[in-house]
Symmetry: D2
Subunit: 325 residues, 4 copies
């Protein structure tokens, strides 16, 4: 079995633009961490900056993780939920904001180090634009790469996984698709800069995630640094339980993750607005483990044969007979 | 088990706009009929006008169906593949074309009668528009209803199932969604005019098919006359094998079909462009029968309880434990 | 020129799920009202319950509207931003919540009356579901109609405009499309229950808004009660400046609004997260007025002729020559 | 003004999967060429292999182009409308088919040379897959690059513009987006291999075309080799008249094409199924020229300022005041 983790905030209160105080009550951080530790198979935690961890509480958080025997898998710097980033952070038009974005990123590097964590998951949600003619596309994309390069050069011990998403909160993001983001990572040109695939983000980009995995691993030479799992209806980042909408594509994904030698975490990233969060995350883990448990060496060989034959009828039959009662 | 059928043309040659002569070879009609009869559980056939059946061959086709012990489930009048319908058929701006559309529909009524078939499945693919400001929306929608009313009034022994589809071949269809079409059926106001749901058409309309079933059966008082099954990626009518993309929604559909008392056919409507067609149809039937076989009285009760509780975690767990090995 | 209005909250602070405290600062209510009054052509205001108006401040708000010479066009009851509605309001599984939803709606009726306003715009954003098998679709849709019927029966002096939206905050809404909602309105069967079209909601439903207008006015006999205007990229409710993405469809809409005798308000409903809100609303009003000013009797006749001809080349030429410099 | 061209086949008969014989009549090739030459501003023609040009008629076609004073802008090899390519061409699983694909491509190189044309526009429509688990994504993507590399190495005098498209005729294409395709072009590593943007293909990929232009020109160092123009509703390749759905994005595109030094052709690629084809192409050209004629040095400066400010209200006002009467 692969290593499974969850994003801590998934267990907490979640809001949307209509109910900004959230659908649930706030729980103590230790409760969230304990809940994560109770999910069978989960060994790691991702921490979101500001929401979950900051300079001031990083030691306390580290102690709690230790207490519950969880590793910090990554820190996700808060490049998205502060008013100062409202018109961009790493690629902001204002050089002072970009400087603040860099400084804050380096703060997260420090937090990571103090937690024994070697990954920063960079999701620059505010970097993009909403309207036509709103961005100097050359300059701003350039600043984005430059800010990330500065951070990654200054922290060669930390891997920077760039998480792409086509839209939201901006109507267009600068890091929108697997290939866009790989191109930027290659432009940055550092070994410690790669890409994170969030399955739901890739669905709304119209990608077959398996192909995105292959592109990152082949064209990038193992540039797939991290994986976030969730499901959705293909048009928006609904952040749902894995398997609640789609099935065969997760089989294909898990095959290609193994086949291309991905050895990072399988991390759950959901927004269970109204659901029991622990249960929602547990269901996702169990769904993926149900698939993964089938991927024996023998079955891996079967799939290699299936994808080389390309017979859709045979593969649908195989899926039905292999997975369904 | 419900009654299963297939559309005959699904077994034949299929083309697209780039390869107009098709990806396969033409097979004799009897071969197609025999292939349909060989799919376990399939008892009925739908025939497309022009492609599968016409005044001239209807008797011969009837004999072949008898020979292979298949019933004619519906005739689908060819309102879409003749050059004269290129700018509309039942709702055409030209009254002479509408007249031809009506006359041809009545010809199909005659064919149906001679085959002992009581259903016409009306898919007026050419009735709609492509560009803004291209349709007098009041007049043309009115003509559509009028032509259908005339046909249905003249053939009270035949049920007319109106099959909606948001787009293709026109960018906008007049019968685009379940509710649009039910409104038109109610406006027409005849007992023998109802609606056909094609699952793939409903997916691209953004509908939850289960809710469309409920709307037709409740607001329409059993206006769901017919069901076409296939799967797709939610943005286009890919006409794929059932279950090749989605899973849970088919469980929900089959539950609501039973729950609302639908007693029509479960008909496969696919476009296996490059696949073994018989195999592709068989896989769809087997996938649906796999689900249907689970829907015992006890399980129907479980689902009633599940939908009343509305706990997404519990229902995902139930789906996983009930269906997956 | 038609009557133009804006939703007051559009001028205030706007948040999303990542930045729940909002991208802007909170402004005093009177400032928002003054700003609305300063937009040329705007004569009316829509007030959102809780956010803009409540029992406690309704008189004060009324005085401010008087001071700035603005009419209250509608009250939009807050059926969406309270934790108690998190799992539904008018259609909630819990009968006590439905009762609260009804009581609160009647409170809004009282507010409307005290402001001399005759419209409630009902947007039950929390009524729907997120996951497959999460809703008893018959019962819950029935409760929805029942709650609305009770309110509308009890307030025959108030028009209830049902505003549909396919998704958000729920992944599926019960009032999702023009025709679904008209069917529900007809089922409710009261003269004072009709439909509100929000152009952006209709875009994401894949509707040609002009056809939705026609369906509501023709099948519903003038059931189009209200119009909300904004623009988006067709896949999500971006709530952008009118004309910032699309152009020809607004010409067609304004034609059909006039042609079908709509005499309600043209109300702006936007979410200018990061923009100068007054400017964003003003631009929308000016864009629509630019189109409307062209729709003289002579031009209306030209368009009648264009839609009857259906020649896309001619209509594109006409659009270019009529509107572009 | 830029150089404008059209694809010859746009003027001919067009079919879809329902009406495979087409909505129009076949016209003599010379008529099509003459019609193209009659569109003001059009100086060039793109020829589709098989449909428009083959070894046997290439000289005759060349003479007709001369007669009507048109240049051959590109040849588009027929990698999509032959039964042998039904399961792939340049990336086919069958090595013999790939060999045939290469040989045929080299035939097109010869035709191009004999017409004095220096561009091949490569659109490998059949290279991709439809179902999950149907493709060995590493091998097949590798074969694709290999076949193209062989052709491009063998013809260093010819530029190969790779035209991407997310889907159709396959549900997933190997060359699906600007960045995927640039990555493949970079992997191939030859100066004469670049990318063609078809605006409609980019819309359905969810791209802001302006950003795709910038990515190709910046990350690729002038890898934008060719441009195809059309419009659509963002979810399918409707191949409509430019400007019939969208407006502001074309202004932004033309700005960035100039700004990044693109000096290739502005070529129309439409499918006027039911329209007067010459008129439909002429309208597109006139719409683009209407925009281009406004892009004086002074206006280019205004736009540079607008995109650096990023004020959406100001830019919408500027668009309205600059372009609308």
């Amino acid at each position: 079995m692969s290593k499974y983790s969850v994003i801590l905030g998934n267990l907490g209160n979640t809001c949307d633009r209509f109910l900004s105080t959230g659908y649930k009550d706030e729980l103590p951080k230790e409760t969230l961490i304990r809940q994560a530790s109770e999910i069978d198979g989960v060994e790691g935690i991702e921490l979101v900056g500001t929401w979950d961890v900051s300079k001031d509480n990083v030691d306390a958080v580290g102690e709690m993780l230790d207490k519950y025997n969880l590793r910090c898998v990554s820190i996700i710097p808060d490049h998205f939920s502060q008013k100062r980033w409202g018109r961009g952070c790493l690629a902001a038009k204002d050089p002072d904001i970009r400087k603040q974005g860099l400084d804050y990123t380096m703060e997260c590097v420090e937090m990571a180090r103090s937690l024994g964590c070697t990954n920063l998951n960079i999701w620059p949600g505010q970097d993009g634009y909403d309207y036509t003619l709103q961005s100097h596309l050359i300059e701003e994309r350039g600043w984005m790469a430059e800010t990330i390069r500065k951070a990654a050069e200054a922290a060669p011990d930390i891997k920077f996984a760039l998480e792409y998403k086509p839209m939201e909160p901006r109507n267009f993001s600068f890091m929108a698709r697997a290939s866009d983001t790989l191109l930027m990572a290659k432009e940055i040109g550092l070994d410690n800069v790669g890409v994170c695939i969030d399955t739901g983000h890739a669905f709304i980009a119209g990608e077959n995630v398996s192909e995105s995995i292959v592109i990152l691993q082949e064209y990038g030479k193992n540039k797939l640094f991290h994986m976030h799992f969730n499901d959705n209806y293909d048009n928006w980042d609904d952040d749902m339980i894995v398997g609640s909408v789609h099935f065969p594509r997760y089989v294909e994904m898990l095959f290609w993750l193994k086949e291309t030698g991905y050895n990072g975490w399988y991390s759950m990233d959901q927004y269970p607005y109204r659901e029991d969060a622990q249960g929602a995350l547990r269901e996702s883990v169990m769904f993926l483990q149900m698939i993964e448990s089938k991927l024996t060496n023998e079955v891996m060989d079967q799939i290699r044969n299936i994808v080389r034959k390309g017979d859709a009828v045979a593969s649908q039959r195989w899926l039905r007979e292999t997975f369904f009662k």
